[in-house]
Symmetry: C2
Subunit: 334 residues, 2 copies
DNA sequence: CTGAAAGCGCTTACAG
DNA sequence: CTGAAAGCGCTTACAG
């Protein structure tokens, strides 16, 4: 058995109350006492038990984080940022992989509740009513990452998807493109789907380019779907000069199939991605994309959550700036 | 305040002992009692408090996982597997990002200890004596992933790095290559560095190919270093026909610089990676590589750890099978 | 079949 | 400056 506060109290000939006081620098003891206690703590190698402390304080100093897919580059960048800030403030983070499955999500929420986490970060998924209900019931602060919700005022931190998409397409137009296709993410996705499509259409409209439904094809954000989408584009709309994909993975999928067809990027067709994951720089040619500062977003989400936990107030949502990272997959048309 | 066991006891007109019993299906109560209790649990929306339970059981049902870099594709695949199994068994997982920093690692270890985790998975890093000491002191089971140690018998789960590297180079030789360079990971790394270099040398030797020190260059497993390494290879040993990199990232870095120099893979030079991360399939041409089943490794590590926690016994180490995934970056020389 | 009580390792009024 | 005591929300002998 590891020593408890009782053991040090005994050995130091003081009460456990006193040990607790010096442990927390609460004052109200003589220097001599403090020294004695400090020393026997060292001798015994005493470590406080956060569980016992948590029971009485009703604070566990741990936060829960829910991802649709922990192993995606997207989630893991976020997680890195979240973890960084949390640990700085002496919070631990528990991860949960929802697999985008409602049952699983509910089960994890339940688990996090039983474990008495102090707050929850909910990432990249729509906060359904049923989730919100249990969250509300748990009475812990929640912040959304790359997501939003209409239920109540749950703060979120994300990029302006509509605007980012708009800017991306504007960029393509500024490079002389007019026949611009889009590979969208999951159809109907209210966060990373629809708003990006709207940004695309709006940018087109701003330049009097009419929307051609053959130019819009749907994927699911993943690599394979980008490749498939590009296949249909090549077949149905070979005149397209540029394609904007709603994720880097899909953009890279598109890039692969273009190459597979013996064409070159950007000479024959330009491709633009979304996210700026690490792999955007790793492909050949390096991908031009719109960047979301995922690590920072994670950090700030963590910061807001901990602020809410410790202050009891609610935090303000925050929209992060996106930016266009010019690399080598977009050609200027003359 | 959320309701406690006391509240349900009161409302159901039984003692908390009885509530606890029906909660755990311990038997020793009438059907009628069970029904009454079950119902008021539902009515009150009672959820047990795992913290209180943990205090008394000395089990928190949570495990800690330490990664040098949570945001790497490598770590996140592992994490996915770990999380999957753990949650299946109703364990939560706490992640820690060590940044490969000794101070940080020690700090996290301390944190995990205070939080009373039931066990720890230590990934991709050498288990230094100082870490081992505190781990030993914590008296919780530990399993190593993609790592090994000489201290005591801490079980590990990994691939046979030496053999995997040997097989990779043998594969290259079987394709007719004899001038084979290697881009190694961090020099002196006892897990993913040295053994892979040895496998390389051994395979060469097996075919009477003498080792040329100009053909061996060191990186740090990351993309950029692979590119740099390839630059020196191109300059100092342009006659090389194939290069084996000790990580997919480095292989892809090499691939980029080869392309940048106007050469083609695999026509002008063959490249082979190590890991089989998702991105190996995403680059063009898709990377031939040696696969480690990271997700499964994570899962099994989780399984072993939980086995140790629950049985009190120690688990056996396990070597996973690697395999060669043939894609399109290796050419047959005739 | 059921309850009173001790106890897990702490913190925090309260009293002196 | 210091200690005795209550209590956080549970589980588990022990007794009946």
């Amino acid at each position: 058995m590891n020593p408890t506060i009782k053991d040090v109290a005994q050995k130091a000939n003081v009460s456990i109350a006193t040990v607790s006081r010096v442990l927390h620098n609460l004052g109200g003891y003589s220097d001599k006492t403090k020294q004695k206690v400090d020393q026997t703590i060292k001798e015994l190698g005493y470590q406080p038990n956060a569980i016992a402390r948590g029971l009485i304080n009703k604070r566990t100093q741990t936060i829960g984080v829910m991802f649709p897919d922990v192993s995606s580059a997207f989630s893991s960048d976020l997680l890195h940022g979240i973890d960084e800030f949390a640990h700085d403030r002496n919070y631990s983070v528990m991860v949960c992989n929802t697999d985008q499955d409602g049952k699983r999500t509910l089960k994890y929420l339940q688990l996090l509740r039983e474990k008495q986490v102090d707050g929850i970060i909910f990432s990249s998924e729509v906060l359904k009513k049923e989730y919100y209900d249990v969250l509300e019931n748990m009475k812990v602060p929640v912040v959304l990452v790359s997501s939003q919700t209409d239920f109540a005022n749950v703060p979120y931190v994300k990029v302006d998807d509509y605007q980012a998409s708009y800017d991306a397409v504007m960029y393509l137009i500024s490079k002389g493109h007019r026949k611009i296709a889009m590979i969208s993410g999951t159809k109907g996705d209210p966060i990373a789907g629809t708003p990006r499509v709207e940004g695309y259409r709006k940018a087109l409209g701003a330049h009097g380019i009419s929307f051609d439904s053959r130019y819009l094809v749907y994927g699911d954000f993943l690599y394979e779907s980008g490749g498939r989408a590009m296949e249909v584009l090549l077949r149905k709309a070979p005149e397209v000069t540029a394609v904007f994909a709603a994720s880097d993975e899909m953009a890279i999928g598109a890039l692969s199939t273009v190459t597979k067809h013996g064409m070159n990027v950007p000479e024959d067709i330009s491709i633009m991605g979304y996210d700026d994951l690490r792999l955007a720089q790793m492909v050949t040619p390096p991908l031009t994309t719109v960047r979301q500062p995922l690590y920072d977003i994670g950090k700030v989400a963590s910061e807001k959550l901990i602020y809410m936990i410790e202050s009891g107030k609610t935090a303000k949502s925050q929209i992060f700036n996106h930016s266009i990272v010019e690399r080598q997959t977009v050609r200027t048309l003359t």
